[in-house]
């Protein structure tokens, strides 16, 4: 979300376009005397100006609560303070780096150098308020003979054909430049998914065009709209399943999710009917209805039977203690990406809270599953907060239920537990003002719990 907000904000920032200031004219005799010193002097002046400029910008931006990368993002076109020598720099280049932006691991397309506009192109931009569109598509080029533009279903990062892309309009002019490596496009890592896992090579293609240019398969449609383009390759080791693999695994993964859901409903060694209903409702929505238009009636019936059988069978396995949770989680981890695993956890939390209570046994199993699915524990705790806020009862009978709610593990030090409790207190105390009475009351209970535990751990 932060990324989204940062972008919303960044689009509003007026780009800093500077004028080319002249060099002072000197008396010729005096000029002869100081001639040997001119070049070293210019270098010193350049270095001073450069540092001053950087310091000033960092200082100015501190209050904006933007992180370092976003500050850099604002620094583009800051050409006015440079010397002529500096302006004679190389043409525009791009590179890709992995960075964390607003707590989100991202691929950042950085640019440096003079923009490659011709006089003729600059004239053309005048009809569009001296602006040009810069568009970045990402291609999987692991197979040299088959360049594949990456897909993306996230509307913030896709084009009308659901291809991964970003574009922005920027003021342009002759001699406009990035005088340092500056972020031009930022893609969260989670949305860049190649067709297959393993060592992959991506091509980031940045195209400059007029504002109305249209693209197809990541390439510009009409050459008349084109100004210039440049690309860079970037290799990564992709450890999650690619989008083509995910499609192939979909059926297996759904089965495993149903088994995990059943395990949650049986965590108290008896049937939790509301939990089973919540799971059935998910199967209907996510599996049966989703494929409604693509399958005939027989297929739909087959699927219904298949999942009914699977649920019954899983229940028997659970009763007989024969269901291996670690095998299920291992398979889910191999066959899904992290985003899918958060979705799975969301479902499990819904199942656990469907009877308006969270038992200690359910809570323990959820905590273990979250770790096994390799989720970020803090994010998982936030998700659990939402579940707890909407239920009536939290099981406090078992000896360690309080610790379970806050997801303490045996390897945590008391100091770490105190810190976690403080975070939980902050989270819940904020909700004591919630307009929803149920959440407000639950928040008060949770505030008491955290304070009691802090007392216990002598924080």
């Amino acid at each position: 979300m932060k990324i989204f907000l940062s972008f919303s904000l960044l689009w509003l920032i007026t780009l800093n376009v500077g004028a080319n200031e002249g060099v002072p004219i000197l008396d010729s005799d005096w000029f002869q005397k100081i001639r040997p010193f001119i070049i070293p002097l210019l270098i010193i002046v350049f270095l001073i100006f450069r540092n001053d400029d950087k310091d000033k910008k960092v200082k100015d931006n501190k209050n904006e609560s933007l992180d370092e990368q976003e500050q850099e993002y604002q620094d583009e076109w800051n050409y006015e303070n440079q010397t002529n020598e500096q302006k004679a720099q190389e043409n525009l280049q791009i590179k890709v780096e992995e960075k964390t932006i607003s707590e989100t691991p991202s691929y950042v397309v950085l640019a440096n150098g003079l923009l490659n506009f011709t006089n003729e192109q600059i004239e053309k931009t005048k009809a569009e308020n001296e602006e040009a569109k810069f568009t970045c598509y990402v291609f999987d080029v692991t197979d040299n003979d088959n360049e594949v533009p990456l897909n993306c279903t996230n509307n913030t990062y896709n084009d009308e054909y659901n291809l991964l892309c970003q574009s922005r309009n920027m003021k342009v002019g002759l001699n406009f430049a990035y005088n340092d490596w500056t972020p031009m496009f930022i893609f969260p890592k989670s949305i860049i998914i190649p067709p297959y896992r393993g060592q992959r090579k991506f091509k980031f293609l940045v195209t400059s065009s007029n504002l109305n240019a249209k693209f197809e398969q990541g390439k510009i449609n009409n050459k008349d709209d084109f100004y210039f383009d440049l690309s860079t390759d970037f290799e990564i080791e992709f450890n999650e399943p690619g989008y083509l693999e995910q499609k192939g695994f979909e059926e297996d993964v759904n089965e495993k999710i149903v088994q995990l859901g059943m395990a949650i409903t049986y965590s108290e060694k008896e049937n939790n009917q509301q939990g089973i209903d919540a799971l059935k409702s998910w199967v209907n929505q996510e599996i049966l209805l989703k494929n409604f238009y693509f399958e005939d009636e027989d297929e739909e019936l087959d699927k219904k039977l298949k999942y009914s059988y699977l649920m019954r069978n899983t229940y028997e396995l659970l009763k007989a203690n024969k269901l291996s949770m670690s095998e299920i989680v291992k398979e889910i981890n191999y066959k899904t990406n992290i985003a899918k695993r958060y979705e799975v956890m969301n479902l499990l939390l819904n199942i656990a809270g469907s009877d308006d209570r969270l038992s200690s046994a359910e809570d323990k199993l959820l905590n273990k599953t979250a770790r096994a699915l390799e989720l970020d524990i803090d994010k998982f705790q936030q998700m659990k907060t939402s579940t707890i806020a909407n239920i009536e009862t939290i099981d406090e009978n078992s000896e360690d239920s309080e610790e379970t709610i806050f997801n303490f593990t045996s390897d945590m030090s008391d100091e770490e537990k105190c810190k976690r409790l403080r975070q939980e207190y902050t989270r819940w105390n904020r909700q004591t003002n919630n307009s929803n009475e149920k959440i407000r009351n639950q928040a008060r209970k949770m505030v008491e719990l955290t304070a009691n535990l802090r007392k216990k751990y002598n924080c």
Binding site: L9, A339, K340, E343, T426, C459
Partner: protein, 513 residues
């Protein structure tokens, strides 16, 4: 010329102050007993109402008719039932009183301590929810008091501290405000009489009254040990009154003895300071956590805090001084009347907000250097469809426009876009939250209306949202469709709720003693 008045409407005690001719705040004494603080207790029976300490005399004989801690109910949809002797959810109850009505009775009582009370500044806890602020304004309206502004209690207190001639207050200060029902901690920078608030945190369910409840639990336990029978601490309000007496004794002595009247007769019970302090450890932990949180939010640490200023009667407990000294590495500032700091600050603020022609030359001179910069105590935002970073799905989530702790006044514009082709309306929602929440369940939606958009446009039309928040807590929100210029404007002024006429009429028929 009407008087410049400040009112501290507290959970257990309330007070009223005015600016004297020289511009100094003066707490006005009760006409009943000449005390400067008045118990926030109301005795109601038919058309008879007694407000203040005298109401407490009925705790033993007519406990159900004595209403205490009304401030804690200000945000709730409840009424007081004298039949049941408690706040109940049934708002249709004919003879029930709303929290705003009961508070108005207290305000009316305070108003009688002087003449010419038309306008006043009223204090509220820093973390008071919008509904509770609204109810406070309703109470003032029922009591025929025009509210100049509501001011946060710790902010008022630091204004008073900064204006005191005999007390040296300066640098970064922590205002520790532990009252009868609420706890606020505020960090501020003070230079001469200029106060810049940095951040506030609070707990609306933490105060002296909670400590009293813990003492009643000890009383119950000891009575049970002696008689093998229970005293009813939940419903008999006399016990809480007795507990308060015990607490006061334990503030100066190591033990307190008290006679408890229970089902098996009277029993003398002794409670030690250690027992009491052990019983309130959970609350002490909450206090420590809130201070830690506030320090983190304002980028402070104990070594950077020059002074700790105490506010509220509960800060008289020795354990509070001990905890603060341990936590901050130095003892808090002493020598100020902790019961009066808030109301005095409110009177000063009323002076600051009064028109110059309403102030005498001396008052103007006394206030000329006093300056206050407050912050926005909440995150203000709007609901929008955004990609969920965890699942990469589009979800309706809260997005923040004004960050918490922004100095007031502040104005922020953020650009959003329409989602789909031919989108003909957008929902203009204004949200408020204490944390930077994205989950829409965890924010309060304080306004929600639609803005109509022109037909037939592609997706991605820019919508600018501007929130402007002024020093008095008024917020102006503007949702603008950039291309068509259509706007939806919202003025979020803490105004009274639509109809309080009936509530007012009901109270007007009552004679207050």
């Amino acid at each position: 010329m009407s008087k410049v008045i400040g009112i501290d409407l507290g959970t257990t005690f309330s007070a009223i102050a005015s600016l004297d001719d020289l511009g100094n705040p003066e707490v006005l004494a009760s006409i009943d007993d000449n005390r400067k603080i008045t118990a926030s207790a109301v005795y109601v029976k038919n058309q008879e109402v007694i407000v203040g300490d005298k109401a407490l005399n009925y705790l033993r004989s007519e406990s159900n008719n004595v209403i205490l801690q009304t401030k804690r109910e200000m945000e709730n949809d409840v009424v007081y039932s004298t039949n049941e002797g408690k706040w109940v959810k049934n708002t249709d109850l004919i003879d029930g009183y709303t929290p705003a009505q009961i508070s108005s009775l207290i305000l009316k009582k305070l108003k009688d301590y002087t003449t010419d009370v038309k306008k006043a500044v009223i204090t509220v806890p820093a973390m008071f929810a919008e509904r509770a602020r609204q109810a406070t304004l309703d109470a003032a309206k029922i009591a025929d008091i025009e509210v100049i502004e509501l001011i946060n209690e710790p902010t008022a207190a630091v204004l008073h501290y900064a204006s005191l001639p005999g007390v040296e207050v300066g640098g970064r200060v922590m205002i520790f405000d532990l009252g009868g029902g609420t706890f606020d901690v505020t960090f501020a920078e003070v230079k001469n009489k200029k106060v810049d608030v940095l951040t506030s945190r609070g707990d609306k369910y933490l105060g002296g009254r909670d400590f009293d409840k813990e003492i009643t639990k000890i009383m119950r336990k000891k009575y049970r040990e002696a008689h093998n029978s229970e005293i009813d601490i939940e419903n008999n309000k006399e016990y809480i009154h007795k507990a308060e007496e015990v607490k006061k004794i334990l503030s100066v002595r190591d033990k307190a003895s008290i006679d408890i009247d229970g089902p098996n007769g009277i029993q003398k019970i002794e409670i030690t300071k250690d027992e009491f302090e052990e019983s309130i450890q959970t609350y002490i932990e909450k206090i420590k956590m809130l201070i830690e949180e506030a320090m983190e939010a304002s980028g402070m640490n104990p070594s950077r805090i020059n002074q700790t200023l105490l506010v509220g009667g509960s800060t008289r407990l020795p354990i509070i001084t001990k905890v603060l000294t341990n936590l901050m590495g130095k003892p808090p500032v002493k020598g100020v009347n902790v019961d009066e700091a808030v109301v005095c600050g409110a009177a000063i603020y009323a002076g600051l907000k009064s028109e110059q022609e309403n102030l005498s030359d001396q008052q103007q001179e006394a206030l000329k250097d006093v300056k206050l910069t407050d912050v926005c105590n909440f995150y203000m935002g709007t609901l929008a469809v955004i990609p969920d970073p965890l699942t990469n799905r589009q979800v309706v989530a809260n997005t923040i426009i004004i960050e918490r702790d922004q100095k007031l006044p502040v104005s922020v514009t953020k650009r959003y876009t329409t989602m789909y082709e031919n989108q003909q309306e957008i929902e203009c929602s204004v949200t408020q939250s204490e944390g930077p929440e994205d989950n829409k369940e965890f924010v309060n939606i304080i306004h929600n209306e639609m803005l109509k958009l022109p037909k037939g446009r592609p997706a991605g039309q820019p919508i600018d949202i501007t929130y402007s928040y002024d020093e008095s807590g008024k917020m102006h929100c503007m949702f603008t469709d950039v291309e068509s210029g259509n706007t939806h404007e919202i003025e979020l002024t803490p105004e009274t709720t639509e109809s309080i006429d009936n509530a007012k009429k009901q109270i007007e028929e009552i004679s207050i003693e």
